[in-house]
């Protein structure tokens, strides 16, 4: 039986208590997108600055939410800052994979899902594998299915921001 220790890992609580990259960026040049979790009212605001070389030069996170959504957003911001848009998209895929691997296991279909995630992490263009680092601490979330939406909220919002940045470019 999963316990609260599986969910509230120390690194998650650290990011919750001391969120990284909290604040706002000036728009424009930054892109701003909002994400909502209609279930619990959580909201996250993602700001990204993307330069002409498609590098995310700055990121800021606003909004409010539970420990899982806030920690995930904080860790995400640290992971993608200074990365290229392509790498950020691969982080999104890898993180969603981290969430769905375990969803697959819950459904008794883990092995296939795991292979899929390895492929995403390796990158379609054969780039280096994505290392999720601290974000791995969030994998306990999949044992608490109602919280998966908390963990993925900021990532879905980042995906929208990347789309908008691409459209604006």
């Amino acid at each position: 039986m999963p316990g609260l220790d599986d969910l509230y890992r120390e690194v998650i609580l650290d990011h919750y208590r001391s969120p990284r990259n909290q604040g706002e960026l000036e728009t424009p040049p930054a892109v701003r997108t909002e994400g909502f979790n209609p279930l619990c009212g959580d909201e996250v605001i993602v700001y990204i600055d993307v330069d002409d070389d498609n590098v995310i030069t700055d990121v800021a996170i606003g909004g409010q939410g539970c420990s899982i959504s806030q920690a995930s957003a904080s860790m995400m911001s640290a992971a993608i800052k200074g990365k290229s848009v392509t790498e950020a998209r691969r982080f999104i895929a890898a993180f969603k994979g981290l969430m769905s691997i375990h969803e697959g296991e819950l459904g008794g279909d883990g092995s296939e899902a795991e292979m899929g995630i390895d492929a995403i992490a390796a990158g379609d263009e054969g780039g280096p594998a994505i290392k999720l680092g601290d974000l791995e601490a969030l994998k306990g979330v999949v044992k608490f299915p109602v919280r998966i939406k908390c963990a993925t909220l900021s990532w879905n919002t980042l995906a929208q921001a990347l789309d908008q940045a691409a459209a604006d470019a």
Partner: protein, 414 residues
């Protein structure tokens, strides 16, 4: 003592279980109630002995099925002291009943220059249908504000009512527990020629209800919050109002005649009950009403006042400024829905995290906006935790809640 049997939990099979190796403590009855064995038995008995389609069979079984449906309707009518049985319309839930009200009465009677008055403490079910209709019909939607202590601010009521055709408010807030002064609102609405619709979803299950004493023109509530099954709700309205309203959904059951040129509707209440109805659910609701009547609704209310008072005292004394319970602080002015924030005054634990930690202790509470986002905007909180009690809860459940809260403080301490 309130007159509720001390061993009442034994009537509710779902409460006889453990979650996470702890006894299940169910404190989410404002969301949906648990069902006594009598309700479960009535529904399976209906399927085992009586099932047939209603109002159209010429055989004994179908007659008995029809009697079962209509018998439930008369129980509902008696329970709310409706003047007539045919004023009780069965719907899928309270939300559908509000949509019926908006689409049938509202679409016929509302246009530019008119106003519908609701309040900031409404459930989305009494907000969104009016937003949808206002976008089509061009009437104004007005909001009675909520004071900082969780009551309706009626100081400007005359201004709000000027030009209003309908006042639609909850009798008991699903977030704050506030009991609103429905007779006063009825009098004020009627004085300007407006009608009063009452959301009784939180009220009817918990407080003796008399639509005639309320002065309401419409009363809406749902079966699943009052020990009945999901899938059945009620719209009550005066017969002359229902007679004048066009049908909501079209199809079988609601017609008198259908030709290639058109149709005529049957009489009320069936005019509003298109298609095969939820007969077993009606039977279940009837059994729930029997169960509540056996307990006595005065006893139900007295029990909840005692328990709410105990909860307010226990939580406030134990946690001081670490807890804020929203809404009226006097149990007699409110129902047993207790929305609260908990944690350090400058860094509250998020409700979703509280609900998670409580679940691990077997305690079920709701976290979120409770389908009342405008109210939470007024309260300036994004979400609350909400514990809500019913007949089967007792002081030990409140103690379990208080104990489990301690654990959330430990995890999220700064």
């Amino acid at each position: 003592m309130s007159g509720i049997p001390a061993d009442i939990k034994k009537d509710f099979p779902v409460l006889q279980q453990q979650v996470h190796d702890k006894p299940l403590i169910y404190l989410d009855s404002g969301n949906t109630s648990q069902k006594p064995q009598a309700v479960i038995d009535a529904m399976s008995d209906y399927y085992e002995t009586t099932n047939a389609n209603v109002h159209r069979g010429s055989y004994d079984l179908a007659v008995r099925a029809t009697d079962a449906l209509e018998g439930a309707r008369s129980k509902v009518a008696r329970f709310i002291n409706a003047p007539a049985i045919n004023e009780v319309v069965f719907t899928k839930n309270a939300t559908e009943a509000f949509n019926l009200l908006a689409r049938s009465w509202g679409a016929t009677n509302l246009g530019p220059g008119d106003a519908v008055v609701i309040s900031e403490m409404e459930h989305h079910a009494n907000i969104v249908p009016w937003h949808m209709l206002a976008a089509e019909k061009g009437f104004e939607l007005r909001w009675i504000p909520v004071t900082s202590d969780g009551h309706l601010d009626l100081s400007d009521l005359d201004t709000f009512l000027d030009g209003a055709k309908l006042v639609s408010v909850t009798a008991m807030s699903n977030v704050l527990g506030t009991l609103n002064d429905i007779p006063r609102l009825a009098e004020a609405a009627h004085a300007v020629g407006a009608l009063l619709a009452v959301d009784g979803s939180q009220y009817v299950p918990h407080v003796p209800t008399d639509v005639q004493a309320m002065g309401a023109d419409f009363l809406i509530f749902t079966g699943h919050k009052m020990l009945g099954p999901m899938g059945i709700g009620v719209l009550w309205a005066h017969a002359e109002l229902l007679e004048a309203m066009p049908p909501f959904l079209g199809g079988g059951e609601m017609i008198l005649n259908v030709t290639k040129e058109g149709f005529t509707t049957t009489e009320i209440p069936w005019k509003f009950e298109a298609g095969t109805p939820m007969v077993a659910e009606a039977v279940g609701l009837g059994a729930a009403i029997d169960y509540l009547a056996e307990l006595g609704m005065d006893n139900v209310r007295a029990h909840e006042i005692e328990l709410t008072d105990y909860a307010l005292r226990t939580l406030n004394e134990r946690y001081g400024d670490r807890i804020v319970i929203h809404g009226p602080q006097v149990a007699t002015e409110r129902g047993g829905v207790l929305s609260f924030v908990y944690g350090d005054p400058d860094m509250r634990v998020h409700p979703h995290d509280i609900a998670q930690v409580l679940d691990q202790a077997g305690v079920c509470v709701r976290a979120g906006h409770h389908c009342a986002k405008p109210l939470l905007q007024t309260m300036k909180v994004p979400a609350t935790s909400r514990a809500s009690v019913y007949v089967y809860n007792d002081e030990s459940d409140i103690d379990a809640l208080a104990d489990a809260l301690e654990a959330s403080g430990d995890i999220f301490a700064f």
